[in-house]
């Protein structure tokens, strides 16, 4: 894995978090976070349990909005240069640009086809051929097309766990988002399914920008170009993955990677 830092015309980072504090009511969960996510790179967020990596991920598509009293108290989150907390931001459009895959696979109790087409349908797409094409493209990206093309109208819940998770990825990329957020997507899967999804991630990075939360440091090494290490709500270190794992700048990172604490 080579963190391809080929400086071209330097496009702005697709996601930029600036000096952000985040609170659940009175308790502060994130402190002064600064993070830049580059186009077509896989960025991993690692850290011990409860360090705020999932919260940070959910700040990017404002999934925290549904938690009463949870809010950004300082700083801003920019997606494609736009502050997503601005009054004129349409949440629906934001989430169309920033897709998400959850820890536990959660396909709808509908057919495979309807699952993938759901995102397009809620954004008003009715044209059958557009939907067909999007379903085929998304399933192909998720490496499911060959397996499932003959039973697109079977219930999605009849699939295996790994297939379900890949279906969720297909569903998330059907609307062609810029960023794909993944919240420990492999934690509930067996090693073989995990491997498949990790392979998939390299493919996905060609089309999308991926931000992945993971518990598994080996996974971070395997899939990511950049890694951010969080601890107790603070971003301790953010660097190209190779650099962070081989030559951490911070002592805290070093001891975490060595397994002195977890």
């Amino acid at each position: 894995m080579t963190p391809a830092a080929t400086p071209q015309s330097i496009p702005p980072p697709v996601v930029q978090v600036r000096d952000m504090d985040f609170c659940y009511g009175a308790s502060q969960a994130l402190f002064d976070i600064n993070l830049k996510v580059e186009y077509h790179r896989v960025t991993a967020l690692i850290g011990p349990s409860g360090c705020g990596k999932s919260t940070l991920l959910r700040c990017i598509n404002r999934m925290n909005d549904r938690v009463p009293s949870a809010r950004v108290t300082k700083g801003e989150v920019l997606v494609k240069g736009k502050n997503i907390h601005d009054g004129d931001v349409d949440l629906t459009q934001l989430r169309k640009q920033v897709g998400m895959v959850f820890q536990k696979s959660n396909p709808f109790p509908k057919s495979i086809y309807e699952n993938v087409a759901y995102g397009l349908r809620i954004h008003g797409e009715k044209n059958k051929s557009v939907l067909d094409e999007a379903v085929e493209r998304s399933l192909s990206h998720a490496a499911l097309w060959e397996e499932l093309k003959d039973r697109l109208h079977a219930n999605a819940l009849a699939l295996s766990g790994g297939q379900q998770q890949r279906l969720c990825i297909a569903r998330a990329i059907a609307t062609v988002p810029d960023v794909l957020l993944m919240d420990e997507p492999c934690s509930a899967l067996d090693p073989i399914s995990t491997l498949k999804i990790e392979e998939l991630m390299h493919q996905l990075a060609r089309e999308f920008t991926v931000v992945i939360v993971t518990h598994n440091m080996q996974q971070a090494v395997r899939v990511s170009d950049y890694t951010a290490f969080l601890h107790l709500g603070k971003l301790v270190e953010f660097a190209p993955t190779e650099e962070l794992f081989t030559n951490p700048r911070e002592k805290l990172t070093d001891s975490y990677l060595r397994g002195t604490f977890s």
Binding site: Y118, R121, N155
Partner: protein, 644 residues
């Protein structure tokens, strides 16, 4: 670091032995507790089985009993008479239409006069009511001997004063002129107990009406005669039929009496057979022999009836001819549009009625008194019978269809009303309501369950019935089918109340179903940018649909089984509602499966055919409930995708 002393270990061999525990009667108490819990669970099952056995035991004899009754009905000749009598019922309906048409026509001319007459009589009665007490005392004094002139004079004065004040206090309708009002007031004031003649002005009013009525009758002479002719047409036929019916009924009563005696005799003989004491045995046998009565010679008496078949047929033919003639001379016009419509309807219906009568007469020949009534016939007569007639002097029929129809229509109304209300309320409460709203809505809706159904019935009678009737009379609502309604107590009223009763069940279960939709579905939908409404209608409701459907079915079960409200509010008319009037049918009264049991079971003698018939209804009701509940469970399983 000082380690604490290790507790001494028991010797090796005894470690694995089961320690001695207390036993109760040699049984481990843990097992006893287990059996106790198990037996409590099985009590429910045992009771359910017992209920089924009891219902079946009481109800299953109904079919043979009813078969015997229908057999007697045929053998005694009642069925024979009904072949003609049933279609002849139509005559009364036609007759009454004609009568209404005639009176509506006459009213066009005589109504003002009649109103004046009736109003004057009403006023007179009001005065009399108000002066009842002085008049009564005066009458008592007048009847005394010897008369007491002093007292009479005083009381008469009192009566006159009372009459005068009552007459003055009356409100006279506008159609009396000032002069007439004054005269009426004078005449009322002068009313005394001795004078029985009507006061002069009242007499004039009566005469006025008679003149007008006479005029009207001349003007609509054709209609009046046609109506009279039509009414008289059935008389000769009815006479013959009444003769036959009387004979048939007599035979039937004798046959029934004989049956009762015979059964009694059988019982005595059975008792004698098992009796061991020879003396007792002899007396029982003797009693049995004494009670032997003469069997009715059915063949003999039926001949008397069937012997007159030709005569009956002839009368039917005559009747048909006469009514057809009457139809021909029915005038094209009548006093009002409604009357004209009625006359035209009758004119159209008469040929069909005549045909029906002739067809009925033709079947008389093929009728055989000794043809046995098959059990399938009996089953058909119960399940497809359109008449539920009990305590009849003629013949009891236990036809199930009117009750079933009533129950089903009411249940359908209730479910149609309750489903949208409760499901929408559940969606709102589950998905859109704030915590405070939830805290208000849920307990309030669940509280409805606590309202005793008899109280709801009360509300239906005193409040909802009047409300629906008043609303149905509003002019701008007349496009609604069935408006204005005739009966305050009807299926719609009952359906509304049952809907109200079903809402808590359906609401709570639907809400549970929505609650059980996994959070992850909502997360996924939100993360794809769906709006709240899109999430609700594309993900949550489809995922919860099995629970919602099963909630609706359980609501249906509750509605079908509910008794008190329908008994009080449905109107209790045992007849199949007239579906020809379209959707307006829901404003007709009806009786129900549950209502009939509640109403009649207390009054029938145990073990009679009526008793057994009610148990049959109970069995069917039970079967319906089981079916509905089974469906609810099946639906819940069938559409449970997230548990697949």
């Amino acid at each position: 670091m000082n380690s604490l002393p290790t507790p001494s270990r028991p010797p090796l061999r005894s470690v694995l032995l089961r320690s001695r525990k207390h036993t109760i009667l040699g049984v481990d108490p843990q097992k006893l507790i287990k059996y106790f819990f198990g037996s409590n669970a099985s009590v429910a099952i045992i009771v359910l089985v017992l209920i089924m056995v009891f219902l079946l035991r009481e109800g299953i004899d109904f079919l043979p009993t009813y078969q015997r009754e229908l057999q007697t009905y045929r053998r005694a000749g009642l069925e024979f008479c009904d072949i003609i009598d049933q279609p002849l019922q139509r005559n009364q309906a036609l007759s009454s239409s004609l009568r209404q048409a005639v009176s509506a026509s006459l009213e066009t001319l005589s109504k003002p006069a009649r109103d004046r007459r009736d109003a004057a009589f009403l006023l007179k009665r009001q005065v009399e009511d108000k002066t009842a007490r002085p008049r009564e005392s005066l009458r008592q004094v007048l009847e005394k001997t010897p008369p007491e002139p002093e007292q009479i004079k005083v009381l008469r004065g009192e009566l006159v004063a009372a009459s005068a004040s009552a007459a003055a206090a009356l409100s006279y309708p506008d159609f009396f002129s000032t002069a007439e009002r004054e005269q009426l007031q004078r005449e009322f004031a002068a009313l005394t107990p001795e004078v029985t003649d009507l006061p002069p002005l009242l007499q004039t009013l009566v005469a006025e009406f008679d003149v007008k009525d006479g005029e009207a009758r001349t003007q609509f002479a054709e209609l009046v005669t046609a109506q009279e002719e039509f009414e008289e047409a059935a008389e000769p036929l009815q006479e013959v039929l009444d003769d036959l019916k009387a004979k048939a009924l007599e035979t039937k009563e004798k046959a029934v009496e004989f049956d009762v005696l015979e059964i009694n005799r059988q019982r005595l003989l059975e008792a004698a057979a098992t009796e061991t004491d020879p003396e007792e045995k002899a007396s029982l046998t003797q009693e049995a022999e004494e009670s032997v009565s003469e069997a009715v010679n059915l063949e003999e008496s039926i001949k008397e009836i069937t012997g007159r078949t030709a005569e009956l047929r002839e009368q039917v033919e005559k009747y048909a001819v006469v009514i057809e003639k009457a139809a021909a001379v029915l005038p094209k016009d009548a006093g009002t549009g409604a009357a004209r419509a009625m006359v035209n309807k009758v004119r159209e219906d008469i040929p069909a009625h005549a045909r029906e009568m002739r067809a009925a007469a033709a079947t008389l020949e093929g009728w055989r008194w000794d043809k046995p009534v098959s059990i399938f016939r009996v089953i058909g007569a119960f399940f497809f019978g359109t008449q539920w007639i009990t305590n009849s002097s003629w013949q009891d029929f236990y036809g199930f269809v009117p009750l079933l129809t009533g129950s089903l229509v009411i249940a359908a109304i209730a479910i149609l009303i309750a489903t949208p209300v409760s499901v929408v309320a559940a969606i709102y409460t589950n998905q859109f309501a704030s915590e405070r709203e939830k805290e208000l809505i849920k307990p309030v809706i669940e509280f409805i369950q606590a309202i005793p159904s008899v109280v709801l019935g009360f509300i239906g009678i005193s409040l909802l019935g009047n409300l629906i009737k008043d609303v149905s009379e509003w002019g701008w609502l007349q496009w609604v089918p069935g408006f204005p309604i005739q009966e305050r107590l009807n299926m719609f009223n009952a359906g509304c109340l049952l809907a109200f009763m079903a809402v808590p069940t359906m609401f709570s279960l639907s809400e549970d179903a929505l609650n059980n939709v996994p959070r992850a579905y909502i997360d996924a939908s939100d993360a794809l940018g769906a709006t709240k409404l899109q999430t609700v209608f594309r993900v949550i409701v489809p995922a919860g649909i099995s629970g919602i459907l099963s909630a609706i079915l359980l609501g249906l079960g509750r509605v079908v089984g509910e008794t008190m409200v329908v008994l009080l509010v449905a109107g209790n008319r045992i007849a199949i509602p007239d579906f020809s009037s379209g959707p307006g049918v829901i404003f007709q009264p009806a009786h129900t499966l549950t209502g009939i049991i509640a109403q009649e079971l207390g009054e029938v003698s145990r073990g009679s055919s009526h008793w057994q018939a009610l148990f049959m209804v109970g069995i069917v009701l039970f079967a319906i409930s089981l079916l509905v509940n089974w469906c609810a469970r099946a639906v819940a399983r069938r559409f449970e995708p997230h548990k697949a």
